[in-house]
Amino acid sequence: MIAFLTAVLASGVRTGTSVLFATLGELFTERAGVLNLGVEGMMLMGAMTGFGVTWLTGNPWMGILAAMVVGGMMALLHAFVALVLRAEQVVSGLALTFLGSGLSAVLGSPLVEVRQVDRIPTWPVPFLSQIPVLGPILFDHNFLVYIGFLLVPLCWFWIYRTRQGLELRAIGENPAAADVQGIKVMRQRILYVAFGGVLAGLGGATLSLALTPTWVEGLISGQGWVAVGLVIFAGWDPIRAMFGSYLFGALRRLPIDLQNFARFRANPSLGYFTGMLPYLFTIVALLTVSIGDIGRRWGAPAALGRAYVREDRDA
């Protein structure tokens, strides 16, 4: 049983890493007061670009870099439409998702034939990976998983312990208050939206270069939406976002890990049920915090989704 749980948790951490990156990216975007529902599209483009560039250059790190650039550029498109032109953020984000899924399918069609590219290498941490239970769960992974480990405390530190973090929280809560204190609200919002896209691109590439090293149309299969849900589930906190992501990862891997049990194999419809769990979990999380004013108490940035224009009177 311990072996089984260890396996589930280890694969949860590994599988959850891609959604963790995307969640952290959306978390920064929303903390700045901008809603970007284009995560799924940005992840798809990241996954396709990462896989394609790796195939062309033979270097998975080049693929990762390209995925981050493409994710950031897609997010800048959202920033332009939603912040500069002040279009409805929900619509702009949804459009970005459709753009990402369509574009990645078209541009990625030659890549479907490609079976093999170099993937991000796995590196068991010397000694630490030998620790029973904890070793396999935490210290026997590919490099991207470790980058995720490092990123979470860094994000936390940035948000809660730096001047920039204070400004970030202010522009998401009350942009007018930040503005009169001399903070450049628009510039910061654009930068955070772009950063969110960079992380979403990284999340997508994590999937195509480390987890299921392949490209097929719609590879992300809703994980971008899960990231949007996880940001809320996490109450806009990076530490909770990490636990949420790994929990999602574990749930996602459950159907595969359960194949080891005879009773599970004998009942194939259970597989569909467990396959549904991560998405059910997302819906329940979204529902819970959307009911009444739980959302506000849960810590939603007060200005989330609202454009800020200085000379709007009575704003």
Partner: protein
């Protein structure tokens, strides 16, 4: 300290500032006096870098400046405390004070900023708890945070926009003391006000604005109350309303032990009982946010009662929805004209018909012909300045918008009128019209509940004055015994000794 020359600023449809000149001496307390909409706030937003002027030049401490953003103004030593506080509610006092301060390093040490802010509060006589979260603070405390915030950024000129608007009289007195202290310490204070009394009490120099222009700048010592009023309103206007003597009729509306919650689920109206008779105006005085809105929404059927009963003309109507309340003859003039009172993008004619389209119809269709003839009649009767009955109401000025609402509410078969701050933000002429309309309804037998922050208005119109504080009625005084100071104390939640029984 400040020299502004020929400042103009145009907003769509309004010339908010028209070639304004303003000089403020260093170390003085300078008042900017004028009615709502005179362009005071716009001018100060320009001086604090929030708006850019269309034309004109500014000098601060003898240096020519042009502020592209509030940051430039802060650097030049100009800080503004806005009327609507610019605070991040979910953050602590200390975090709000240091927000945007580039002198802070990359890493922020919570205990260091806490100490800095606590020290600054003590030095300036504005004691604040640096760890408190903004949403936990009272308005008076929030204002203190705003001032400390500007002092922290090194403001030598402090602009305060209507600083007493949200304060109780004792809180305002404390603020005045602090302001005098800061002026003695060498800072320059510039405050916006439309209240004569506080200008006379506090200011050394007064600049009066009217309709976007500066009327005059005068030392307070050389000007009288009456002269200032004349400058503010242009020509002497009678503030007194003629209250025709009427015989009050039977009891129309009784509220018994109402308890109503606000949007956050806190008790906003607490065990409140009131009675309202025919041909009576019952004024409810109180500082904004003491349950007035929730009370009005409870009476009009928009807000659920947690407890208590409402009786209309002897019948229990507790729990009726707003449609039934309308049918029963309860009219409402909400405080928020643009959104609650009217549908901004609909035409004047459609807004007039918002309450009667169900009865005045042709089969399943709207009665457009009837609509337009009714609208033409109402526009003429209420003398609304509009380009036509099909004009969208969002293009109307505040006064005309209020006339539209009154025309709609008063043209029904009404028995009770709930009027919430009906003259807020209107010019003198429009105020006069609204007051006359209320009086006319009173003579016709309507029972009027007048909820207003404007003490002068409540005192001049009401037959009885009730004071609301924290959702409770602190006391009810007949017109003859309603003195401004007594009411003021009650508004602050203090029961004067001669009333305590």
């Amino acid at each position: 300290m400040v020299e502004m020359r020929g400042i103009s600023k145009r907003f769509p449809g309004v010339l908010a500032n028209d070639r304004v000149d303003l000089d403020v001496a260093s170390g003085s307390i300078h008042a900017l006096l004028g009615e709502n909409g005179a362009g005071k706030s716009t001018l100060m937003h320009i001086l604090s870098g929030l708006y850019r002027p269309d034309s004109g030049t500014m000098k601060v401490e003898d240096r020519a400046v042009s502020f592209a953003s509030p940051l430039h103004a802060i650097r030049a030593g100009v800080g503004m405390v806005h009327q609507h506080f610019m605070l991040v509610e979910t953050q602590t006092v200390a975090e709000n004070v240091v927000l945007g301060d580039r002198r802070l390093g990359f890493r922020m040490d919570p205990s260091a900023i806490r100490d800095t802010v606590a020290d600054l509060g003590r030095e300036s006589g504005l004691e604040i708890d640096p760890d408190a979260l903004i949403w936990q603070l009272s308005v008076g405390e929030r204002q203190r945070v705003e001032i400390v915030k500007m002092l922290h950024r090194g403001a030598r000129l402090l602009i305060l926009d209507e600083p007493t608007a949200v304060l109780t009289p004792p809180e305002a007195d404390t603020l005045f003391d602090r302001m005098r202290g800061m002026a003695r310490a060498g800072r320059t204070l510039l405050f916006i006000s439309h209240k004569l009394n506080e200008v006379m009490e506090l200011a050394e120099t007064v600049t009066v604005m009217r309709q976007g222009r500066v009327v005059d700048t005068v030392p307070k010592a050389q000007v009288s109350h009456r002269e200032l009023v004349r400058m503010m309103v242009g020509s002497p206007v009678l503030f007194d309303v003629t209250v025709p003597p009427v015989q009050q009729g039977r009891k129309l509306l009784s509220l018994r032990s109402l308890r109503v919650e606000n949007d956050r689920g806190q008790t906003a109206v607490d065990n409140l009982s009131l009675e309202l008779r025919q041909r009576e105006i019952l004024g409810v005085a109180g500082v904004a946010g003491n349950g007035q809105r929730e009370l009005a929404e409870a009476i009009t059927g928009l807000r659920k009662l947690q407890a208590g009963t409402i009786e209309l003309d002897g019948f229990d109507v507790t729990g009726s929805n707003q449609r039934r309340m309308i049918d029963l003859g309860i009219s409402w003039v909400p405080q928020d004209r643009q959104h609650t009172g009217t549908a901004p993008n609909l035409s004047i004619q459609e807004n007039f018909d918002l309450k009667r389209y169900r009865s005045a119809r042709r089969g399943p269709f709207l009665d457009r012909a009837g609509q337009s003839s009714r609208a033409a009649a109402l526009l003429a009767k209420y003398r609304v300045a509009a380009s036509g009955r099909l004009q969208p109401v969002r293009l109307l000025s505040g006064g005309n918008l209020q006339k539209i609402i009154l025309a709609r509410e008063l043209s029904t078969e009404l028995r009770v009128l709930v009027a919430e701050s009906p003259t807020r933000g209107l010019d003198v002429g429009a105020i006069q019209t609204v007051h006359e309309l209320l009086m006319e309804q009173r003579s016709r037998g309507v029972a009027i509940l007048l909820l207003s922050e404007d003490l002068q208005e409540v005192l001049s119109l009401s037959d009885r004055v009730a004071v609301i504080h924290n959702g409770r009625i602190m006391g009810i005084l007949p017109r003859a015994r309603a003195e401004a100071d007594t009411i003021g104390m009650l508004m602050a939640g203090v029961v004067p000794e001669d009333m305590a029984t």
